[in-house]
């Protein structure tokens, strides 16, 4: 079974530029999470989806971040415009809604210069 797929793996952009990350969860997983992991810290939730509905986006900085999960499968996370402080690893994870394990993708390492 394929795991959670994320792309790109690395991205370097200049500040004020837009950037987008893509996540393909494990097949059949209804729940999808986007996390941000700053250097030396644990992951912090940005948004949680149940199917195509964003059920928890309270920690998503909505002035510059947006996310979507069309058809309840793949998801994209966008930042526009990026700031220096957005440099981090962006992790996607998925799980069955009734399951107890979440499975992480490899992450996208974003560097904003």
């Amino acid at each position: 079974e394929a795991g959670v797929v994320q792309s790109p793996r690395y991205k370097i952009i200049e500040k004020k530029q837009p950037v987008a990350f893509w996540c393909n969860p494990i097949s059949g997983h209804n729940t999808l999470y986007w996390y941000r992991q700053n250097l030396g810290q644990g992951p912090e939730l940005l948004i949680r989806y149940e199917n195509e509905e964003a059920v928890d986006d309270s920690q998503l900085p909505k002035d510059r971040f947006s996310a979507e999960r069309l058809k309840g499968v793949d998801s994209t996370l966008k930042i526009q415009p990026a700031e220096l402080g957005d440099s981090a690893v962006y992790l996607c994870a998925s799980q069955y809604t009734s399951g107890i394990e979440q499975y992480f993708g490899p992450g996208t390492r974003l560097t904003v210069t």
Binding site: Y33, G40, Q41, G42, P43, E44, L45, R48, V55, D56, L91, I100, E101, Q102, Y103, F104, G105, P106, G107
Partner: protein, 109 residues
């Protein structure tokens, strides 16, 4: 405010020694998780602890949960170099995972 605190943050230990990582959480947790992260890699699930007194073991690692004390421990027995990594605990409450800051473990030959 939900808090998950780990200590120590950094741990350097010699091969063959034993040590314990502590995870304190502030909520009435539904579940407590332990993850491992190697440098530049994603998180790998190690243990899920579902109830008070739960103990799980895999190889040289053993995790336990005391919900009354709001404390989970990850015990390392006879450490080997391959265990060098960062270990995170995570509290699952209200359909959300709250991660600790991580413990960076280095096992010295």
């Amino acid at each position: 405010e939900l808090k998950v605190e780990q200590n120590p943050l950094f741990l350097s230990m010699q091969e063959g020694k034993n040590y314990t990582i502590y995870c304190n959480y502030s909520t009435t947790s539904d579940r407590l998780y332990w993850y491992r992260q190697d440098p530049g890699k994603s998180l790998e699930s190690l243990f899920v602890l579902l109830s008070n007194g739960a103990v799980k073991q895999e190889g040289r690692l053993m995790a336990s949960l005391d919900t009354k004390a709001r404390l989970s421990t990850l015990h390392i027995t006879a450490a080997v170099h391959d265990l060098s990594a960062t270990y995170f605990c995570a509290d699952f409450t209200g359909n959300q995972f709250y991660f600790g800051t991580g413990t960076s473990l280095t096992v010295i030959p």
